[in-house]
Amino acid sequence: MPLPAPRFGLGLRKPHYAEFLAGDVPVDFVEVISENFMVAGGRPRDILRQVRERHPVALHGVSLSVGSADGVDAEYLRRLRSLVDEIEPAFVSDHLCWTRFAGFQSHDLLPLPYTAATLAVVCAGVDATQNALGRQMLIENPSSYVSFAADEMSEWEFLREMVARTGCGLLLDVNNIYVSGQNHGFDPAAYLAAIPFEAVRQIHLAGHTSREIDGRGMLVDTHDQPVPDPVWRLFAEAIARAPHAWAMIERDDNIPALDALLAELDVARALAQTIDADQQVPA
């Protein structure tokens, strides 16, 4: 299996464009939001082309809607394919969620009931996407705030079955595991124990915010804070079990100077290195 080397990256966000264009930002890869670059031309496409000359790129989508009851959108896949063909990304990913139904677009990652019927819909969507792109998709575990009465399985059981049926890879977001675990009362350790780590190609790190909603504390996946300690602990566990996964920090709001994110990325590097050292068998 090709492609293991680069390991630590950042999301490419507007406040940092100039620095990424100017020179050697010490990252092994960058991740971009696919839809921001699914445009005909102009400055955004040009920036992405220039960044691509320096770094491997991962394309991360938010509008595939792999869980739409009315299926994935062929026109969307055609446009994504054209971006993939030009950029030749290391990975292409989107989320286990839905964002479109009957012409309505939510622009928010909406939850799916974990049932056999949903699994059939999602697997058909992943198959159609992988066929249209001619390559493997990575699917990311979402943060969620409600759960369904009809649920027949846990999220990790759903992911495991999806991987087995479609051959897709996983983008494991350890912050999302923590956020959903707090909101729904499951143990993140149990979640990680059940993940098929051989399928994990990317890992996301991010921060969240605590909010009082209907008299109850909930965590919301805001990507506007540094990575907190409990999320680092899950990362250490995840990177030990998927040592070749590419890891990156997602920061979409309250965006700090690039140096602050690079310092956080060094924490990720150090955690992974500790594990590398632990796993070395003395001669």
Binding site: G42, S63, S106
Partner: protein
């Protein structure tokens, strides 16, 4: 409840804040508000980001009320949020029918943002002229170019706001004025179009021979003046980066 019914019900919650269909399908519905917040918040942010000068002209209260009404009436239907601002121009026109500068400011902002991501072109430059075969070479506008008509002085208001100067009072002219919006390299621009330009530019969305362009102008200006006029316009278009030569 089928997955399709559930997604329709979830959509009703986001769009109309109606949870009667979705709530019974949930084991724990308390987090529903998070989704409603995210949905409306991202649409509000999208409109505010797309129309900074319209926002400044109307003030927070007027802009936010109009944006909230627009979101109530128009759920998004494109995979990209970039497409969402387009319809807001019509909402503003309907909300302020006696103040055309409001919708026209928004129209200008919308077309500038369209030009920003329009397809790349290599515009015709004076250096290309020597090698151009005028019997075969057709001219067309660059993909980013649009001709817009304004009843008000919205372009002047836009320019003042963009330079953080005091905007002029809104004025409605007796006859509409035409402006060209386009992107030169990566810079979006606009300028007034002359009467002759306004007459021929719509035809240049599709490639045309230079001779045909002269014929179009001859009706209004006579054949002799038409050739000179066409030559002047071509020189200006090359300086602006507005036309592409297509060898048919």
């Amino acid at each position: 409840m089928s997955l399709a019914a559930q997604q329709a019900a979830f959509g009703a919650w986001l769009h109309r804040a109606d949870d009667t269909a979705i709530a019974p399908a949930l084991a724990d519905a308390r987090g529903l508000a998070v989704y409603q917040n995210n949905y409306r918040g991202s649409l509000m942010a999208c409109l505010a980001e797309a129309f900074p000068h319209t926002h400044a002209w109307l003030g927070d209260e007027g802009f936010e009320a109009a944006a909230a009404r627009h979101i109530d009436a128009h759920p998004p239907s494109s995979f990209t949020l970039d497409a969402y601002p387009k319809g807001f121009v019509a909402t503003l026109r309907a909300t302020w029918p006696a103040d055309p500068e409001v919708a026209e400011l928004a129209m200008l902002e919308w077309h500038l943002s369209e030009a920003f991501v329009a397809a790349d072109d290599r515009p015709l430059s004076p250096n290309d002229l020597a090698e151009l075969d005028w019997d075969r070479a057709q001219l067309r506008l660059v993909a980013s170019a649009r001709l817009l008509h304004f009843a008000s002085n919205a372009p002047a208001i836009w320019s003042a706001l963009a330079h953080e100067a005091d905007p002029p009072a809104a004025v409605v002219a007796e006859t509409p004025t035409a402006f060209i919006v386009w992107r030169a390299d990566f810079i979006c621009c606009f300028r007034p179009a002359s009467g002759a330009e306004a007459a021929v530019l719509p035809g240049l969305a599709e490639p045309r021979l230079f001779a045909e362009l002269c014929e179009d102008l001859a009706g209004e200006h006579g054949p002799d003046e038409a050739v000179g006029l066409a030559g002047e316009m071509l020189a200006r278009w090359m300086a602006d980066g507005l036309v592409v030569a297509v060898i048919g």
